[in-house]
Amino acid sequence: MGGAISKTKRLALEERIQFIKGTPFFLYLDDSTLKEFAKCFPRIDSVKKGERLSLNENLVYIIATGDLELSTTMADPKMKIENKGYLCKKNPGDIISKPKEQGLATKKVRALCCFAIPLGPLSPITNTLTAI
């Protein structure tokens, strides 16, 4: 299940600029800011076909070449099953990042049972506990 980035290397600024020109954000950049922006992407990661990526939550990625596929596993509360499925493809020029929430919730949780108890009627008890 472990994700992989096969290789990481440095890339010349000019090459990085060419890749950034493929992003929609390019429209917002004049020549000087484009250079500055390209400097914010100092390395290039390569992944082999069929490898699963493990994205770093704090980083932003621009697809320079190749295609990525997104798939998911989702709970279906009515059917009590999990739906697995292909979501979409990401192509060169697409900007991707890992959503923050996912970083907190990427594992299956096994529970015996859950109870929801209204706190109102329990407030005398909880107040006592706080006092103790």
Binding site: G66, E69, P99, K100
Partner: protein, 324 residues
Amino acid sequence: MKSLQLTPKSKKMEIFVEQVETWACKDSLLLCSDEGALNSFLAAHPDLSTAFNAMLGSHIETYLSNIPFLQGLKASKLSVLATMCRYEALDANSTVFEENTPGDKLYILLSGKATVLAPQWVGNATALQQSLEWGSHNERNDDNVIVAGLKSGDYFGETAVFVNINRTSTIRTSEKSLFVTVGKRTFENFCAVCPEIKEKMQSVMKERMVSKLSSLGIPFLDGIPPASMQMLTNHVEVHETQQDEVIFREGDAGDRFYIIVHGEVKVEKKEEKEDADQDQISVPDTRSLGVLNAGNYFGEMGKYFTERQGPLLGYTNILRSSCQ
């Protein structure tokens, strides 16, 4: 203190948590940001920072959660949809899409401004089609009417992700703008793993349509109080038909009343040939009775052979007994 003894009904109740996995379909290269450098860059360029940050997941989720048929969806599911979105940037005075062109995605304006333009209103047909997406118009602009101004966070074109109708308006940027888009196929993939959203989408669309019905002067619906009109929403179905599909034939049970939202319907009547030779089998002739357009309604007679000429959306199950 006495502890409660709880017996779980199910020994193994697994709660699944949504997650997105990213795979390389082919050998790929990814430019990877340096967190510190990127933060410094965005801090030095606050104008760019707004657009760039808007592209990152958490902002998009907030925008997505404002779309009526996505409201109430779990944050983790919105987060999945956010990762599926794409971005488009356009210069000022660019056309996002033209009226009467096929639509295949919904847009959310992340930064910039745009206007919604529609031709001058020509009665029920246009009003009904446009009621799918826009409210009342307010300003004229040459041949078009400015239906609405769009700002950051506004969405449009969402009808395209669930029905096949052409765009009902033209959208033009009034300044450099960045959009997030969700394509029809992408959204279908999302619905496949998140089926509860389909029901919500149908409900929102029907509400929009019905809210406009009372103002369109349709005699059948005249005089129905707003509360009762709202009740009709529950009985309305959206029907999408293919070109040349027969909607109903003469002699069929007339249990539905249709209002055309988009497309054309051809009305034909079959007539027996009067043949002098009684021994020969008579072949019925089909006579055209005319063409119905968006805003017109039919089905209250249940008498004619009706064949449509273009894509059609209709309201059904508006029974006469409900309208009395």
